[in-house]
């Protein structure tokens, strides 16, 4: 057992106080669950953001296995004013990974709380702990021959439903809006109380994962993207696996087609004819996830010129836009909806439809079809090799599902990215009424100059989009304070009033979504 003079300390905490807290963590959790050495913490410190790793270096990391241990941790944190940053599986790649929002925060890694507590095949729901991965659940469903389907984001098998839902992530199936499918949380509050949302507070209740709202104020949402509690259990609904599944792609040759694509698609989504979270990926997203590297086409610095993009299209058959969707149901249902869909595309007069039978095992069709069917894969990590260098930050503004809006956002983003010598690598994830316009700002972190450009670019994207009334739905930890400003003072005042009431010592993830009692309105 050794307590060293740590190179990194939590903000405002002395070395002595920190050492005392660490000793108490060790007494509570055991030596193996308190990590304070540099080489133990290095795996938590690989970030992809446009600052040095040091800006997000943790002072220690803890692993807990029970709710009681989590309660014990918050008691110690209150005693020593230790700020704690909680991760579930920690696979929030491009949004901060597992590193804390502020240098020196102690990471609480809940990866060892990984029990699948219940899967109900009749009511079609699951109740899980934070460390449960989608891969673990997928295996569980397969091993128990349960006809249920998962929805997950691209890191799929490695990420987990609780963490993804708490960050309001999305997937690609009809259950792709994950927070909408959440039902019942258990949250350890900063004072150590264990609060269950919805029906969870009713003694003997068997409807915690059945009915969301409970009685009186419904508070689930305020624990997402927030720092008001540590979620230790979460229920969510599972889609029955349909007898027939029909994925398809529609390839569009021109970038300007996005306007008409969205106008054609919106009624199909609102009516439920196409039930899943459709994706419209641009050529570079498609190329990157198809294992194509920029260096195969151009080695000059700066953004990739449009003629090169066209060349990639010609060489690969990929589109300027590549729409992926699927139909689910009985054969009769799928047949009817397929006719409606194909008629709509025929009427549009643009787009080449590719079915699974035609695509075979080609990428990226294969991985897209798998994601829409709830089958995990890691193919999309190929994006990180498009430009290389380890820099990746998701810029994710919300857009109305109107063609003109999507086109406007695409043109704005592309112009700003190109100005900073970076590529527009974007996709729209299509809900009935909104679009998650997700752009991967990829850059080379070995170049200080390019990293500074990426940082400036991200700031300019936020600024320019805000001027047009747009804001992102989620952002990496470097920019969370900046994005909080976009949503207005009244919201921030309320959030800090809640924070002060629930966590007066400011121990739970200060800085998360810009909520920090130590800094807000004190600058």
């Amino acid at each position: 057992m050794s307590v060293q003079n740590n190179a990194v300390l939590p903000r405002g905490v002395s070395q002595d106080a920190f050492n005392q807290a660490v000793e108490k963590f060790r007494a509570l959790l055991g030596e193996a669950n308190v990590l304070a050495k540099a080489d133990q913490l290095a795996p938590y410190n690989k970030i992809m953001m446009s600052v040095e790793n040091a800006a997000h270096a943790p002072s220690a990391a803890l692993t807990a296995t029970t709710v009681e241990q989590v309660q014990g941790i918050v008691h110690i944190c209150n005693e020593y004013k230790i700020p704690i940053w909680t991760v579930s599986t920690g696979r929030n790649f491009g949004y901060g990974s597992s590193a804390p929002v502020q240098r020196g925060q102690v990471i609480l890694d809940l990866k060892k709380m990984n029990k699948i507590l219940k899967v109900d095949p009749d009511m079609c729901y699951a109740l899980v702990e934070p460390g449960v991965t989608y891969g673990q659940l997928y295996d569980y469903l397969a091993e128990n021959n349960l006809p249920l389907m998962l929805s997950f984001s691209a890191p799929s098998s490695l990420a987990g439903p609780l963490g993804n839902t708490m960050d309001r992530g999305v997937g690609y199936t009809p259950y792709g809006e994950h927070f909408m499918m959440q039902c019942g949380m258990e949250v350890v509050l900063a004072n150590g109380d264990v609060y269950r949302t919805g029906m969870g507070g009713v003694k003997g209740s068997n409807t915690w994962q059945i009915f969301k709202w409970g009685y009186g104020p419904t508070l689930d949402g305020m624990f997402t993207q927030a720092n008001y509690g540590i979620t230790t259990k979460m229920g969510f609904w599972l889609m029955p696996r349909p007898p027939v599944y029909k994925p398809f792609e529609v390839i569009f040759d021109n970038e300007d087609d996005i306007d008409e694509i969205v106008e054609m698609l919106r009624p199909l989504r609102i009516s439920g004819t196409i039930p899943n979270s459709v994706v419209i990926a641009n050529i570079l997203w498609e190329a990157g996830s198809g294992n194509i590297r920029r260096s195969s086409y151009i080695t000059e610095p700066g953004h990739t010129p449009d003629p090169i993009l066209k060349k990639i299209q010609e060489d690969t058959g990929m589109g300027a836009w590549n729409l992926y969707a699927a139909l689910y149901g009985t054969q009769e249902q799928v047949d009817v909806n397929w006719k409606i869909v194909t008629d709509a595309f025929k009427k549009l007069g643009k787009g080449r439809i590719v079915t699974q039978e035609e695509a075979g095992d080609t990428q990226p069709f294969k991985y897209r079809a798998e994601l829409m069917a709830g089958i995990p894969n890691l193919q999309e990590f190929g994006l990180y090799n498009w430009r290389g260098g380890g820099g990746s930050m998701w810029f994710a503004p919300v857009s109305a599902a109107r063609g003109s809006e999507c086109k406007k956002q695409m043109e704005m983003a592309k112009r700003i990215l190109h100005k900073h010598g970076l590529d527009y690598v974007g996709e729209f994830i299509v809900a009935p009424r909104d679009m998650h316009h997700v752009i991967d700002v990829l850059y080379d972190r070995t170049s200080a100059e390019e990293t500074a450009r990426a940082d400036a670019c991200f700031n300019e994207l936020l600024d320019e989009f805000e001027k047009e009334g747009y804001a992102v739905y989620r952002v990496n930890t470097r920019f969370q304070e900046r994005v909080a400003q976009s949503y207005g003072t009244v919201k921030r005042d309320l959030e800090h009033a809640i924070k002060k009431a629930l966590d007066p010592n400011n121990i739970l993830a200060p800085g998360r979504s810009g909520i920090d009692l130590d800094t807000y309105k004190k600058a």
Partner: protein, 229 residues
């Protein structure tokens, strides 16, 4: 798979590593075991960078296990299980960004330690290196600096310690453009295979890790690491 240096060289000649030629015998004295007596597993990928890295590693530790890395779930879960066993070898590698992102995160979920994490960008005649070193002596980074200096190709080397301090070393020259731009990959292979060797870092040892000459440059972006259970 356990292989020795001879079989690697044979494999090089037979495999699809187009353009790679061995310029001469390695001048290093091969040692039978790693300094710590711990087995070393090298994760590698197809391509010149992986081969040159492996050759550097073999210079330091002639008995290595080698495994192809990928981004498939089965590989990663097997790696995680391996890192959770007491018999796990130390794992080193030089991989592309996609694979390395996943491998490093698997190290975290397995509760493993990372002594060295490097981000590398190589163009035909120059290279950039960003190192995050943890709990190891600065001389390992100094060793890389020294070898890059001797190689003669322009480079920048940024070393970041966990305390936030940053050291920048660089060579900007137009006089040595005949320098071996592939040197960095074999040097890192050598250094990572040697991690833990108290003797390494001295001037004598610094001279023995020589790179193979290759007929093609190593270009692209890579991540190097040393992971220990």
């Amino acid at each position: 798979m356990t292989i020795n240096r001879r079989s690697v060289l044979k494999g090089m000649a037979l495999s699809s590593i187009a353009g790679l030629t061995i310029g001469g015998p390695l001048r290093a004295m091969a040692r039978p075991v790693s300094a710590a007596g711990q087995p070393v597993l090298v994760l590698t990928q197809e391509g010149a960078a992986g081969t040159v890295f492996l050759q550097g590693a073999l210079t330091a530790v002639p008995q290595l296990q080698v495994q192809q890395a990928g981004v498939d779930v089965d590989f990663l879960l097997a790696l995680e299980r391996r890192l959770q066993t007491a018999e796990s070898p130390r794992i080193i590698g030089l991989l592309d960004d996609a694979s390395a992102t996943l491998v490093v995160d698997i190290a975290r979920s397995a509760g493993a330690r990372i002594q060295w994490l490097g981000q590398h960008s190589a163009e035909a005649r120059c290279s950039r290196h960003h190192l995050l070193t943890a709990n190891i002596d600065d001389r390992w980074a100094q060793q890389l600096d020294q070898q890059l200096q001797e190689g003669g190709s322009p480079f920048t080397l940024q070393v970041e310690r966990q305390d936030g301090s940053l050291v920048l070393r660089q060579l900007n020259t137009s006089e040595h453009l005949t320098g071996q731009a592939t040197l960095w990959a074999s040097s890192i292979g050598y250094l990572l295979a040697s991690l833990g060797d108290a003797e390494l870092g001295g001037a004598e040892r610094a001279k023995v890790a020589l790179p193979p000459a290759t007929s093609i440059p190593i270009t692209g972006n890579f991540v190097s690491f040393s992971i220990e259970a």
